[in-house]
Symmetry: none
Subunit: 226 residues, 4 copies
DNA sequence: AATGAATGAGGATTCATTCAT
DNA sequence: TATGAATGAATCCTCATTCAT
């Protein structure tokens, strides 16, 4: 979607441009981001932006898509298909949190697509963004069911839906001011939001998912477990 | 925070203004909302807006706070403190969904506070918004634990955190284009998002919460525990 | 020129209004003075201003004229026609300085008539303002000449012109920020502008005028003076 | 202080802009000057003004400073340091009058700095404006004293102060409506203000200065004093 | 291909004045 | 007569985009 010119410039320049764009859009939001400021931060002439992209919108879309790509690579990279559902889920949550901490801009961009006035972007991005994770989660859950690791009566789609829901809320709590404040209010954290608190919360969320997915304890042996 | 003049105008006019403001801000977002258009939609002169509010910001804040108030009344109204946790939770989810369906604007405003560039608003609104629900959920859960209706080993704060997280994601799915698309993707809904689908999802989310909170059930011996 | 209504209100109220108007117009200038703020400072409803005056312009003119009246009374009051030119001139300079110090607003209004964009006001005020002083000075100088106190070859009109010029510059130095800065630069005053410095300057200005008006020393006795 | 962009445009365009700005600001005053109108008069887009200057204020300051520069060059240009005080003073008065007649806008801008509400500009401009002339006048007078051309008992600072005062009033009479009216009133000029009248007045003002500065003249014994 | 000056629609806010109460 | 809410023209400034160099 960007012009071919974008491919012709030095990769370092392109990367600088795209990462500054991601940072700025994430920080200010789409409307409040100034193309002139973006150009100057990226060390590029204002006019050049329009040599690379048709418009601010196109640039924004491209940055979002690229962020999605990066996020995916970071989160799904190193994932071994041989692992069981639980292992894979935990991997995703932990890698996701790590990536979001080092690159908050991409999650902020994601959250922004649900903001008011961003519908045109949602139309173009949302399905593409969600499909991958939805398919992945559903597949893992189905496998889990098949392997007897997951309750057989689970509604796989719904489970994927709320597992991802928890993921979103959790990640949002790491980057969005609002969700940070919310987290602190719920968890009654007074001082700084330290990594330990986050980690505990992460662990507990994963445990929650486990406890819901796990097949009901075998009927005859209800006693004596744990 | 609004000027006193706001209190002196005819309630019908004020209500019209505030509801149009909520609608417009929710639809377009803060930055993209034009005060002139708002004025004309509200049937008021542009200058009059500034007789009522110091600035666009103040108006926005007021509309958000008012939306919060309305939402609370709608959601918590009719709630009987004698009900048990599960009943109360279900009431809130169902009333919440109903209110959000009839007044999507207020949830959209809520979602917007977490958007990029809205940090100044988050600082002023978020705690105020979240505290009420957080306190309510924690109190109900604690009661539930005391009554033996909820697992004794539950971390109440964390539980409140993710219950509300599910609530947010669910409600967002009713109003935000992005979350609608996401819902349809996860639940594989092809046609229109009908009320039945929503209701099923609601029911299943409530069931999920039940299943997590419920004490591990020693089937034969429900009596006599604790 | 103001509406009759102005005469019907309580004198205290009217005085308050006019003095606040003078202060505000003097401080901010015509354009930057806000009728609403003026009303509120004067303890009067905004609408009432328009019951008393047709327009901001009319109010401004009235305030200027009233200031002129007050200034005159203050400056020319207590002046004894029996005094000689020099005595009368000194009286005027000293009374002028005293009045300007206690009511800077009126001199500021005067200075403002010469500002850009104030031509419509100049057309209506300037002659009226200047005529009185011009006539007075010329008459005194002519008398002085007739009495042999003033050089017979004096061009009375020109002398009146520059005597008043010195008066204006001097008084301006007491109230206008620009002329204050100028005074301090010329007189090399570092600290605060104290009353003594002002008084010295006043005395020296009067001496200057004396020295110019005084008839040339009698030819035969050039030696031995001073 | 202006943006670098200003230096990069065609000089003709820049000159046109600055001279139109000077004219308009001088005519209307700071507050009443409309940036849009200025732009259109200068044959420039509104937005371009903001490519050259941060704000209306900055533009105004720049125009004033530039006017000061031009005035100085016009007035002090062609002045021979070998001339005596009187010659130099006369040069300055005559050149000043000529410049003010051909470029009234700059003197109007100067006068405006002393208007109400212009204090922020006075703080930034006044000392800079006055220092040069003050220093010049004092230096010339001191030289005059040293050369025996000026009364030894002269208070140089005060003399410089009122000589410049007369200069200001005189020049103001050429450009400000108010001071024009005042001049006509004092000098009883009925018809148009012709150049002859101005010139006479100029000559007489210079004569006045001479008469005050000149050492008391012991006619027979000019030699041998001090 | 890169640059950055030029453009002008757009948008928040102010304020003199009007007018219904 | 007093009031102050209502009005909308006016004004500063921003910013995406274009285009000449």
């Amino acid at each position: 979607m960007p012009k071919e010119t974008l491919q012709k410039i030095k990769p370092a320049k392109r990367d600088k441009l795209l990462s500054e764009a991601a940072r700025l859009f994430a920080q200010r939001g789409y409307a409040a981001t100034d193309m002139a400021e973006l150009a100057s931060r990226a060390g590029v002439a204002k006019g050049s932006l329009y040599n690379y992209f048709e418009s601010k919108q196109e640039l924004y879309l491209y940055v979002c898509r690229q962020g999605l790509e990066l996020s995916r690579r970071a989160v799904y990279g190193g994932l071994d298909p041989a692992w069981d559902v639980y292992h894979q889920l935990e991997h995703i949550f932990r890698r996701g949190a790590a990536f979001v901490r080092s690159h908050p801009e991409y999650l902020l961009l994601y959250l922004n697509v649900s903001a008011a006035g961003m519908e045109p972007f949602a139309e173009k991005l949302s399905r593409q963004v969600e499909k991958h994770t939805a398919d992945f989660l559903k597949a893992r859950l189905a496998e889990g069911v098949a392997q007897g690791l997951v309750r057989a009566d689970l509604n796989v789609n719904q489970a994927a839906f709320w597992i991802n829901g928890l993921y979103i809320i959790f990640m949002a709590s790491l980057v969005s001011r609002h969700f940070q404040i919310r987290l602190r209010e719920y968890l009654e954290i007074k001082g700084r939001l330290n990594m330990r608190a986050i980690d505990e919360q992460l662990t507990s969320t994963i445990a929650l998912i486990h406890s819901v997915l796990r097949p009901a304890a075998p009927a005859p042996a209800r006693r004596g477990r744990r």
